[in-house]
Point group: D2
Chain length 356, copies 4
């Protein structure tokens, strides 16, 4: 049950990169929620490939077909199912990956786990393409949260050493993220694009770090221990290919801090008690404080690079010089930005349904 | 269902810090596994409080009573239940935390979520004391994995800026972690202890970073997407109080790396294809590669500090100068080391049961 | 998460009767299992409507399109997704059911639960049509169990008081169930068809009882308490519309029996200890004994009847004489026979995956 | 994960009949619910053994110790854990059951599944004694439902052919069930007791049928398909040892009925649309109609009988004449009455938490 997530809602993701279709089912959604398909498409377009020089030239419209769960623009209470048909497939590009695993890919583990029966075309079920149905589910949850005043946004906070302005923990500037490239600082964005272009020119790729923030959250979402907000979000975010680190609030830096530096003091504000600062990232004891929730996610460099790499053949047991073909993003992080938003939306909407 | 974890096994943790008892039930364990109670006690002692100058003087023997699931030294197939009775309780220390939340604690969110019905004594169900039953479950899983040649160890890799020798990703030196203080380098340990003592002397606390490694893993454990090894471990580890960051393999650094630097090339070794390096942390596509699995966890500084902090009263809606009383660790990270091992053991044994 | 089932596998059913498509995802299936699509279609045809005079004239080919999870005739380890497009829809037949609930249908509860947002066309997600994707999942599980020597068959044991020869608990005569009408005794089948035709002629419908048996099961499947075989099968079978009773082994009759009549004694046979009789229905303590597993299921009469029935209008709050239009089976039980087999196959394959 | 149940709440049952203790954890319960321990004890006493001549002379006070989750008489939001220590144990009575399975017991399947590691004393985890912690959980849920006006009651509707007055489907006479013996008709109760005494005198046992009803339910509880009320209740009820049949509403009789006889017509009543009759048992499409929910459960005769029975030895592979010793109820059905109420309460409270 690898590709199923959720407590109150049940999200099931299916499909392989170059199979007939990819898609998702989303069960447990209340009836009567409005669905804005135009807005959803705009959200999906942020993830879609082929839009510019720093992403893969594989073009996929990523237009979902809804098969169930929505009637006359509203959820009907039945499971929502949607698919995206795969059109622009070139499975011939991948015929070798069973015998000769591409470094950094799941080819190696898939071969061992599935014994050669795995779908290798385009990475099969391990492909980043599976984040498209995740974005269908997440785009819907994002819409529904917005109706409750809960906003989610993310940006590239670092690519190859270049850093964007970070979100303000007390008041994340979600509306300042640029629509052409997901950063706040135009200058930082320009330098990041240069770094990505340089990597591409070198037949290489580069990783990045994404920061995501959620505002308008009520206090009291999430549960202690294994269903705390960190656990819920991390389980889902780590399901996104290429994620290797997740941190909340002050994150890793807490290992270097003293309690007096880290603790958020309280004050009286708006007729109630509130934290004065937000190093906790909006979560204490797994439960939202009502302050902005924010977290960072590290995305590894795209493993598919044009440079020749050393691999080996399972069948011949000899070293092989491997050059990965196919069309690949030199940096997947920009397209992962809406995916992280989608994951946050799903995890938060699930917790929201548990409480309201 | 906040305190329940697992796919094949079901772990349920219960208890409050100063209630009658804390404990756990562990369902889904096969019959016929041997249980070495002496070894388990040694493992629990590593977490137990009151052992030295840098931990809380609250003394608890942390001796589990097994109520079910074990007969004549072997699991019998029925759910395992164990409790630890709370003896050394001083609930009077905590009477104020409902109205005046302690900064950095879950007091604030518990008050909002549970509306005043929460057990505040010692942090109630949010207390770090709940990691004792986690260690019962984890200590058992660790024993069972050892029988299969799978070893788990952790150490403090950083406290307040002082760093220990890191684990070698290809061959983590688990047997070099010292038993008196969980570091590899005696000198680093001495400096960390000094930092902790200084923090204590200042009425303050300090955070730390723990590195955990697992050796002897077969390739093929874990699943793609939401039940990948990273998702499984992160969900559980984030259930441990004070954890604010989790990273696998090269972790955050991947955001700064190029693909050619990060990808692990393959070679032929021992008659099969194997990775030459291990920046992936032993996981590709959520599935173990057979290389050592390693990850780092950041532990925030103990929020309970002697220094006066600013809080506010829910009832009077006025600022309050708060001095946290009670007995607290100036740095919880050393005692968290076996807890992280326990979490890793549970997550891995769960995945192991799924496959074998 | 109403439409999701399973422990080791995760089955998710979606779709509404007259929506774009119905379908299912099946996660957790091992790689390398062969899929015989021709055999699956034959199984689905047994459930499909429009085949004879006692079923609805709505014709649907019920041909599944597989979107994922199968490559070159074998499962690939990724979730299996399949859809059946709805072609022969007449949604105009159902426009009234929101305001004026059809007696015996879910119209009434759907209106209250979903507040008018439910899809009422053809019963929406409550339609018996949703058993088609259940049969896709079940037909696959049935194939895989057959490879292990585990056979599943069912027959109509009663329709309107006419009873078929029951299965022999020690040796259920699965191969004697007729292919034209699912009974063992041709004479009983002829009388049942007459009863169904008479009900139809009267503008009425009739219920039935199905008996299902499983042979070739290994001993040791299932678990004590809530994941015993009875619990697993009953949860799934009660998810099939129109099921109102489920009994295992001697079933209801146990309430009338003495222990000395009911207990199955043991003997030595084939070099091991085996039960001499099988009143337990192949299950003791929730776990299979290795004897044939058998159970009975009562199917209520199709609620849609041509006769005028008394209903009432939610909006006008006045009584209404209702005549249900549309195309309906006068007895759904014959078509439910493969659905019960499918449910048994899914529950047993799930338990099988847990053990092997 | 055999002994864990629930969607919104997570119930975990542990213990073996003659182990140190039996108990339960109940996670997912909101904070602030009052707990009346005296009332709970009265409920548990209805199940407790040793109260009269037709139950086992083993005396157990069945007094729960609450370890967590309750503070000052209210739930605190943390998991509730409670244990009952086993006092009156005589494990010597059961030493033979590993090699020589008692007919009708789980000895046979336990031996095969657990390979000799199972706890055989008193049936171990398969013992009816495990229904005591189920009654702790169920007794609490029953209290909480009562506060919402939802009442649950059950009675013996049949023992050995003697039938009690059935519940009125429109208005079940819960308050007419007698406290000394759980029947409505004193005469029927007297005859049932005679039947039980006769069975005991013959060294035999007898089965029974329990009818359970729930009143005051809101419409709209439960979900379509696998989380319908029938699925939820049946999964839990089949987890109770000795249950072999479960039917809802008109139950098995639906197999003999016509649609015009079975369908419940609608009328306008109390300013809304309501069913005129209740053959559906208060459930349509898996969802409560707001009418009384009722179901019947068949309990097999106690397998432990004094009469000599035929068994066989696993080790010697020879037939054995077996006389079961120990203390056993000649009819377990009377003591199972509160257990069925407990199961209904848990399933309904779980569904209730999902909706409110």
């Amino acid at each position: 049950m690898s590709s199923t997530y959720g407590e109150r809602l049940k999200l099931s993701i299916f499909g392989q990169s170059h199979g007939a279709a990819i898609g998702m089912t989303l069960d447990g959604i209340p009836a009567g929620l409005p669905v804005d398909l135009k807005k959803l498409q705009e959200f999906l377009n942020r993830r879609a490939p082929g839009q510019n020089d720093y992403s893969t030239p594989r073009k996929e419209a990523d237009q979902p077909e809804f098969l169930s769960g929505i009637v006359d623009g509203y959820t009907c209470g039945a499971p929502i199912a949607a698919i995206i048909k795969n059109k622009n497939t070139r499975s011939g590009d991948y015929s070798n990956s069973k015998d000769c695993p591409r470094p950094g890919h799941a080819d190696y583990t898939a071969q061992i786990k599935y014994g050669g029966y795995q779908d290798t075309a385009g990475g099969g079920h391990f492909s980043g393409r599976l984040t498209a149905p995740l974005c269908i589910a997440g785009g819907l949850c994002k819409q529904w949260l917005e109706k409750e005043g809960i906003l989610i946004g993310a940006h590239l906070v670092c690519v190859g050493g270049v850093t964007d302005d970070p979100f303000d923990p007390m008041n994340p500037q979600l509306d300042q993220v640029r629509s052409d490239f997901p950063v706040i600082s135009e200058a930082a964005g320009a330098r990041m694009r240069e770094i990505i272009s340089n990597a591409k020119a070198d037949g290489d790729s580069v990783g990045g770090i994404i920061e995501c923030a959620v505002t308008g959250l009520p206090a009291g979402l999430g549960d202690p221990m294994f269903f705390g907000m960190e656990s819920r979000i991390a389980q889902l975010v780590y399901g996104i290919p290429a994620v290797k680190a997740v941190e909340f609030g002050a994150g890793y830096a807490v290992g270097y801090m003293r309690g007096s530096e880290h603790n958020d003091a309280y004050t009286v504000q708006d007729g109630t008690v509130k934290p004065l600062t937000n190093r906790a990232g909006g979560i204490l004891g797994g439960i939202t404080t009502g302050m902005p929730l924010y977290f960072q996610v590290a995305i590894k460099p795209t493993p598919s690079i044009a440079k020749i790499q050393q691999s080996a053949s399972f069948s011949k047991l000899e070293a092989v010089d491997l050059q990965v073909k196919g069309r690949h993003d030199p940096c997947i992080a920009p397209r992962a930005v809406p995916v992280i938003e989608a994951a946050a939306a799903i995890a938060i909407f699930d917790a929201y349904l548990s409480r309201y």
